[in-house]
């Protein structure tokens, strides 16, 4: 079995209008090489489920998202994501489903467990129920009779995640302190594409970390992409930290349309190799 492919091949299997889940959290271990491949491929009208960071910013800026399902969009060290803000304030983002963080977890877990919904207390009393009028509550059938929010399963057509190591079979290994929800995204999806910093032989995985660090099991993975620096400019602990200076440049450019056009031209008009070269050139400039 060999699930290796490149980022463009992985994205070629997606189609416009799909529901796509994106792993990571905020500006942390986002599958940015795969997101950049989506930008190149011209996919449109996506429903995107994400604990949002610059993945959402880039896709929203390019007008690729029809419907966003999230609890927040942030760059972490820069609290507000400028492209997401602009898309919301201009009305360019057609539809938003805004959940509590724990509700999103319940929705993904329901999908992974093949359940129609899971109950939670989170959301009760808040405007999450007002702004999502399709949400329903359930009453406990037991004597407590407690009313809870029934979070519908967030079933995904495809999941995109980025991990530290993987083998060609699709086993994905997380060497950082936080797996985020990446394995859940994969289990909640009909297909899943996993990019990794380094592709290794299966036997090498146990040299990199304990068995429990193999987070994403191969049965839940469709394609494996070797993408060194594939989370850039978000963090990918322990391989690298967030590229804060690049993120600042991104956020500054995003605040101004002409600056953004120049940023796009410089960093996003070519393929992944061109991207890496442009990032290296910027770093060299800064160090000069």
């Amino acid at each position: 079995m060999d699930k290796r492919m490149n980022a463009d091949e992985a994205v070629s299997r997606l189609s416009s209008g799909m529901t796509v889940g994106i792993g990571g959290w905020g500006s942390r271990r986002k599958p940015m090489a795969l997101v950049r491949a989506i930008l190149r491929a011209g996919l449109r009208d996506l429903t995107v489920v994400s604990y949002g960071g610059p993945d959402i910013g880039l896709l929203a800026a390019a007008g690729r998202i029809q419907h966003l399902v999230t609890a927040f969009v942030t760059l972490d060290s820069i609290p507000l994501e400028p492209h997401f803000r602009a898309a919301r304030e201009s009305g360019a983002l057609e539809r938003l489903t805004e959940y509590d963080e724990g509700m999103l977890l319940q929705g993904l877990t329901a999908a992974a467990h093949r359940l129609p919904f899971l109950p939670t207390r989170a959301g009760l009393g808040s405007d999450v129920l007002r702004v999502n009028p399709e949400l329903r509550t359930v009453v406990s059938p037991y004597p407590d009779g407690e009313e809870l929010v029934a979070v519908p399963a967030l079933r995904l057509d495809a999941a995109l995640v980025h991990l530290n190591r993987a083998d060609r079979l699709g086993n994905g290994q997380c060497l950082g302190p936080d797996p985020y929800m990446d394995d859940l995204f994969c289990a909640a999806a009909d297909t899943a594409y996993l990019s990794c910093e380094r592709l290794v032989d299966t036997a090498e995985l146990q040299k990199e970390g304990p068995p429990g660090s193999v987070l994403v099991p191969r049965w839940s993975v469709t394609g494996v992409v070797e993408a060194p620096g594939g989370a850039h400019f978000t963090s990918c602990a322990p391989d690298y930290d967030r590229d804060e200076s690049f993120q600042r440049a991104y956020a500054q450019a995003a605040a101004d349309p002409s600056a953004w056009a120049a940023f796009e031209q410089r960093f996003l008009s070519g393929d992944e190799q061109d991207y890496r070269a442009a990032v290296a050139a910027l770093r060299a400039e800064a160090n000069r």
């Binding site: 604990y51 803000r85 919301r88 963080e101 724990g102 989170a122 009760l124 808040s126 009779g145 929800m181």
Partner: protein
């Protein structure tokens, strides 16, 4: 560097009174996670752990539970466990957690907004999103930290998007774990001790006045007959804040004066 003088204790900065007031929020909590958002609440939680509340659990700001009490931004010398986001959300549901959050808006019933300003469907200003605020406020003791006390935050009517749930919105069993504790601002300490659990002034930081607090609050603040000053830090507490927890003075960039 701390140079300004605002209180009766010479040399105590406003930010240091705020750290003390935040630390007090966790007094008596015992073995729970002190989930602090912002520089001053983080210092408050760590000061509480170093002094009167040693059993608190704290994180490194990321996914690790610190076994010691590191300085702001420092790596803990020892780690007692991991708390990745999924576990953290499970912990929210389990309840062993007292969170201190920020707020874009806060109203007199304690509703908090971090989602969006204006009409949610087309906001005048998009903020973060509701994040974990709905779940936090129905599951955990919740306090708030407002570094700039103003009528923009303490709004006259209701907040635009209820993210953190205030009083009067949870019915029957839904509110059984709701526990809104206190609000610390750069001017004062508030709680929910007013009629119908409305926001009430508890103390004013030395150097600030009751009139100032009332003017910076968009709703009628419940006032006690006499308003005490926020307590003074001890010499040992000041040493811990200045020399151990925040030698670079990040607190004075979050709160000036």
């Amino acid at each position: 560097m701390t140079t300004s003088t605002t209180g009766t204790e010479p040399g105590v900065s406003r930010a240091e009174y705020c750290v003390i007031a935040c630390a007090e929020a966790w007094r008596g909590d015992g073995e729970v996670l002190a989930a602090a958002m912002g520089v001053v609440p983080t210092l408050g939680a760590r000061l509480a752990k170093l002094t009167f509340e040693p059993d608190l659990l704290i994180t490194d700001g990321e996914a690790l539970l610190a076994a010691d009490v590191p300085a702001l931004g420092a790596t803990p010398a020892a780690v007692e466990g991991a708390l990745p986001y999924r576990k953290h959300l499970e912990l929210v549901a389990m309840g062993h957690r007292h969170v201190m959050m920020g707020a874009g808006q806060l109203d007199r019933h304690g509703n908090q907004n971090i989602s969006a300003i204006g009409d949610w469907s087309r906001p005048a200003r998009q903020l973060l999103g509701v994040r974990g605020a709905p779940g936090n406020t129905v599951n955990n003791p919740t306090s708030y930290w407002i570094p700039r006390h103003s009528t923009r935050v303490f709004v006259t009517g209701r907040v635009d998007v209820v993210s953190g749930v205030g009083h009067g919105r949870l019915h029957g069993t839904a509110g059984r774990f709701q526990d809104l504790r206190r609000i610390v601002t750069d001017l004062a300490v508030l709680d929910f001790g007013g009629p119908e659990r409305a926001i009430r002034l508890v103390s004013v930081h030395p150097g600030a006045t009751v009139e100032q607090v009332v003017a910076a609050t968009g709703f009628p603040l419940v006032l006690p007959d006499a308003v005490p000053s926020t307590r003074e830090p001890s010499a040992e507490e000041l040493r811990l804040i200045r020399d151990v927890l925040d030698p670079r003075g990040a607190r004075d960039r979050e709160v000036r004066g």
